[in-house]
Amino acid sequence: MDQSTDESPDPIDESVIETNVADAATSDTARGPADTIVEARNVDVFYDDVQALDDISMSIPEQRVTAMVGPSGCGKSTFLRCINRMNDRIDAARVEGELRLREKNVYDDDVDPVALRRRVGMVFQTPNPFPKSIYDNVAYGLEIQGIDGDYDQLVEESLRRAALWDEVSDQLHESGLDLSGGQQQRLCIARAIAPDPEIVLMDEPASALDPVATSKIEDLITDLAEEYTVIIVTHNMQQAARISDKTAVFLTGGELVEFGDTEQVFQNPGSDRVEDYITGKFG
């Protein structure tokens, strides 16, 4: 992958996007069509009286990387938090409409958010490892979810999948906080995938990281899509183009203005607003 453009905040030139899209290892054309795992139907979200998402409908494919892009404040994080009901933790937040995980509306009264979150892991914008050892961080989900098995092996496996094992295998019992920012974020990814969720949500997981760490995380995301459904928020257009199969473009006001195959969205955007945004003319 081309890393020279990694952190460039400048407007991107289209040839770069095209090459990157063509590079994407997991594009739909390469793997055939996928089933829908998450389906939003007319989702509105309000914080008190302020509307943050406006009538969002979209179908997110299984075992693919779906990117959400858009200017800050357009509701990307809010949408992500709808999927695992982390919005429940915000008193002011109110969700309307339906959000289906494999046909089950997660906002039905009988849905247990704890059980939901065990199927839908989450990685946050700033790395937030627990002030515990690296091992205990990864084992945390296994413990609280009462998962049986050889923890040593499961921890190793998760750290390997998060491309962190080689760097930490001799310091598993040292604090996760002693790691660098990029390592901490990969630790958080290892922690999220250890209990084997179906979906991994990532909210700008690389925004606090340097270019090298960012590219590691990007490679990792591409690999994760072999097994998991990854839904990632990013404000970095090139990143979305590089790693995602589908791209959703949100614009200010909480509107979903475009959603489709990444290649399609970047090469042939359906509206001028989207084109202006992804080519960096505004946003």
Binding site: V114, R117, N128, F130, I144, A192, P195
Partner: protein, 319 residues
């Protein structure tokens, strides 16, 4: 501003203006005053206690009756009238009450803190926190009566042989008394745990209980420990409640025997009150023993505070 003024303007030396100097002096005097007061109390305590012990009395030029340090620190009989000054009788009562109070206040205080920090709605917290502080403001002598009139009868229902004055009652009431302190300091420590850590827990499918006990409490551990030590130093130094509830009869009770709690005994603070109120105040050995006990108590609480600082440093919160 014209360029001519700039030299004068930039060299005004505001820091040494008369008003600044005066303010600095005032704050300095206040700081010195409080240090000097504390220091002179300690000097008084040490020099009076020195007159009590046979090894130190000559050093301070005192020629009266004295007691050997070994006898004082290892003796188990406290009988002022017959000249027996075994401080272990008093220390054992104090330690029993402190341990008993810890058994009551540590779990309840931490549980209260967890409720306030993790479970309570904003409204419940707004009502409960001030209520806790009111609990901390009740005069301690009232707690003593409460122990005598309400707690002791309940203990007697279960253990009919228990006397009116007993350490169980004193322990429970001191424990209740310091719950607000444990709860409020622990709650501060738990509230300071960053929301991101809770999010991480909930995002993994943790329940509220998992997050409270597995994430928040461990992350706030040093603050929680500090609350224990501070509250227990307070329990050791507590006077009125134990004077009323524990009794006035000095007795050495084995600290490792739970049955000791059903007996009455004389903790250090209550013994000091007793000495002050008796007719020995004018001088003499009994009077000087007051300072020796005071110094022992001071050493005990001081070492607890040092331990608390060490613990807080060792387990400083790093999020």
């Amino acid at each position: 501003m014209s360029t001519d003024d700039i030299e004068a303007d930039l060299t005004r030396n505001t820091e040494n203006a008369p008003s600044e100097l005066l303010a600095r002096l005032f704050f300095f005097v206040c700081a010195v005053l409080s240090v000097v007061t504390t220091a002179s109390i300690i000097v008084l305590l040490v020099s009076e206690a020195a007159k009590f012990f046979s090894v130190t009395a000559p050093l301070v030029g005192f020629a009266g009756e004295t007691v050997s340090v070994v006898e004082f620190l290892t003796g188990t009989t406290w009988q002022v009238n017959s000249g027996e000054f075994g401080v272990l009788a008093l220390v054992s009562a104090t330690l029993l009450i402190t341990v008993g109070a810890a058994i009551v206040s540590v779990p309840l205080g931490v549980a209260t803190a967890i409720y306030l920090s993790e479970y309570a709605s904003r409204r419940a917290r707004r009502i409960l926190k001030p209520a806790l502080e009111i609990l901390a403001g009740i005069p301690t002598v009232v707690y003593g009566f409460f122990a005598l009139l309400y707690i002791t009868p309940v203990i007697q229902l279960v253990f009919p042989d228990t006397g009116t004055f007993n350490l169980a009652s004193a322990s429970i009431v001191v424990g209740i008394m310091i719950i607000p302190m444990v709860a409020s300091i622990s709650e501060d420590a738990m509230s300071a745990v960053p929301e991101e850590l809770r999010q991480a827990g909930y995002g993994m499918g943790a329940t509220k209980f998992d997050v409270s006990t597995g994430v928040v409490v461990p992350a706030a551990l040093s603050g929680i420990f500090s609350s224990f030590i501070l509250a227990l130093s307070r329990a050791i130094g507590e006077t009125m409640a134990v004077t009323v509830a524990a009794g006035s009869q000095a007795a050495f009770l084995q600290p490792w025997n739970p049955a000791s709690y059903l007996e009455g005994a004389l903790p250090m603070t209550a013994a000091m009150i007793q000495l002050l109120l008796s007719d020995i105040t004018g001088g003499g050995l009994g009077y000087r023993s007051l300072f020796a006990v005071g110094l022992t108590l001071f050493a005990l609480t001081l070492s607890m505070n040092i331990v608390s600082d060490l613990i807080a440093q060792r387990y400083r919160e790093e999020y």
